[in-house]
Subunit: 420 residues, 2 copies
């Protein structure tokens, strides 16, 4: 009997290393052609499965597949699309199973955050109920580092490294200028609910003479008067102040700072931007000249300065996902387990998808200093190994040689189209 | 007779490679102790000379000096301080000469943009008039790439590389997400009057499947209706649109877009930010989901991905400045002359400071496509060699090992303090 095919999809916001995970999946599957036939990738994630838009990765040369390891973003396309609960929309799950059955797919590898693990878990259950059992393995990915059980999430280490380095470099810049010019620099980073990325900015401190001086976490309610007082004190004593702020920082009433009052010329609330909001506050309340940056996609796509730890783990998790499937495991997710901090040692273990789904791991209070504006030694010890090593991509003509995948899809086998 | 000492100062906005120039100055001066005694660095630039705050670089180990080559920002501090004209403020020039004379300084190396070259030129003239002739050599530096005569300005190549890579990476990110999420990405870059940095974003195009699709230059008046039409067309045909916008982009009436109407909750005009302005416009006029980033200091401090060409030229210009001084030249600036595009070959020549002062080199019209939204092949040919090569700094524990200079100043010899 020919082995079952597999389906692999990328889900949610992409990262600098999610393609390294794809590389791990594809390269490992190619070593086990007795167990896994073709690996189809979903064009634009799970939407590709629903619309029966499948990319046959067996057509990709091993060189192309290998280059995924150093290419950022989602090579097959990703999507923000959460399958509803089974009761609300059984049709979607039935469609998935129908597509999988039509293409002889017996393995489902879903590479994403908490929502995706939930979906993978549901697909596993429903496929059994429907008499076409599918082996479902979730693979963790999220720059926010907010998945439980795993020591960290692939994607996070590289953002953390980018943010630490960018904070360091901007801190040296403002230190050079502060005597006669800019006194405050503000860097806005991602992290809607968890402050892991903002925390990583603090790693710059030993090289940057103590900067950044203030970290604003979503976990700590923003106290405007206290914050302004602190900025003023720091500028007085150090000559300048560097702030790393999470986009998810909130007022005590739970309202995001980013939604606090910027209006366009017509009075419409402006789209986000906590950095310009703080910049305006510091300018008008303290009269201090400042500069601000918003890293946005730059941070999570920054493969040019990816962490070697992160790339290694992203690949290993993809590899393990396939090995788990071959070993007959189902409805599990490979995780990173930390064996020691220094030297950093880790191995891959597993957790049941039912335990992972929809649990969010925020920065624990003991990782944040008592005043709420910094990280503790425990946090630093946790973070440091995750940014270790520089996994440089190859360059040509001054630019990284990122690979572009052909996104042609295979012939459809189902008659019905499916609207998503 | 003991040789005269030298004074070196960094001026204006700092860069990823201005310290490489400092390294070139200091290392070269150390090879010629028969001609140049100590090299004093101005603490916080020319303000250090006016206030008689001089750092004796002869106390720095050769290892420390060597590490300047890979350290971004201004190691001795910089400043935004333009000396007035001779008639308006002769006092300042007299003070400079007095400080130089007190410390037996016969060489003045001024590392900055157009204003600084003007100052260096004036100091040369006045010192002669005052009977204490000083050899004045300007050394080019500006991320804006707006100095005349030189093929390019040190600092620019590294910003260009950072912006090209960041644009490339963010383009891959939005391309991955566009099917179900973000359709437009906007990156705001520096360049108040010249669009060189924005132009560099276009270098991403060959690797990023044609992105960025729109470049907005300060040189081309912004046409809102035409721009929105173009964004819509591109999103329709490509699925997404990437925009690189110069902070200096202006409305046809000359008003900066960045000053066009964002208000805080109290109705105060908001501080800059052309990216959020465009984001709001695209959201409200076209209803397209978008993301935006503002690179600010991150771009000019990004030593972690500096261009090797840039670092080499920055060093060579510092070295040549000292060699010019020793050779008896005065009131000149070393420049980069391009011998060929590919392979890129260049050599150092000189230009009289009187010719450089206050001339601004913007992006010529023939470097911008007819529609005003892209760069021509001539521009690409000009830019490409400037981002060639990756001059990686050394790392430890996941972070670049940038050096911190001791900033102790020598004992003052003048009785009077000087207020600046």
């Amino acid at each position: 009997m020919a082995p079952k095919n597999a389906f692999y999809a990328q889900s949610g916001g992409v990262t600098a290393v999610i393609n390294a995970t794809a590389c791990g999946v594809l390269e490992t599957a190619r070593l086990h052609t007795d167990k896994i036939g073709k690996v189809f990738a979903g064009k634009n994630g799970i939407i590709g499965a629903l619309k029966e838009e499948l990319i046959d990765t067996s057509l990709l040369s091993s060189s192309l597949v290998g280059q995924l390891r150093h290419t950022p973003a989602g090579a097959f396309g990703s999507c923000r699309y959460k399958l509803k609960g089974l009761k609300e929309n059984r049709e979607e799950y039935e469609r998935l199973i129908a597509v999988f059955e039509a293409h002889n797919i017996g393995y489902f590898f879903y590479n994403g955050g908490g929502d995706s693990q939930d979906t993978a878990n549901k697909v596993s259950q429903i496929s059994q109920e429907m008499g076409y059992p599918i082996t479902c393995i979730g693979i963790p990915k999220t720059v926010d580092n907010d998945l439980p059980f795993t020591d960290c999430c692939p994607g996070f280490g590289s953002v953390a490294k980018y943010v630490a380095i960018s904070t360091l470099e901007a801190s040296l810049d403002v230190a050079s200028m502060a005597a006669s010019s800019t006194k405050v620099f503000i860097l806005e980073v991602m992290g809607r609910h968890a402050g892991w990325i903002a925390a990583a900015g603090a790693l710059a401190q030993p090289v940057a003479s103590g900067a950044p001086h203030i970290i604003l976490f979503p976990e700590i309610p923003f106290q405007q008067a206290d914050f302004l007082q602190k900025v003023q004190t720091i500028v007085k004593s150090k000559g300048y102040c560097v702030i790393v702020v999470s986009e998810g920082t909130q007022h005590p009433d739970g309202k995001f700072l980013a939604e606090s009052g910027l209006r366009d010329a017509f009075g419409h609330a402006q789209l986000g931007g906590v950095a310009p909001y703080l910049a305006q506050m510091i300018k008008s309340e303290l009269g201090l000249k400042n500069h601000w940056a918003v890293a946005d996609y730059l941070q999570r796509a920054a493969r040019h300065i990816a962490s070697q730890t992160d790339v290694d783990q992203a690949y290993a998790l993809g590899k393990s996902a396939v090995e788990f499937a071959i070993a007959g495991k189902n409805a599990v997710m490979p995780i990173v387990v930390r064996d020691s901090d220094s030297p950093y040692r880790w191995h891959i273990d597993e957790v049941s998808l039912s335990k992972v789904a929809n649990v969010e791991k925020t920065v624990p209070r003991e990782f944040i200093t008592e005043d709420g504006y910094g990280i503790t030694d425990a946090c630093r010890k946790y973070l440091l190994p995750l940014i270790a090593g520089e996994a440089y991509p190859p360059y040509e003509n001054g630019l990284p040689q990122y690979v572009k995948m052909p996104l042609d899809t295979v012939e459809k086998k189902l008659k019905e189209a499916f609207a998503v």
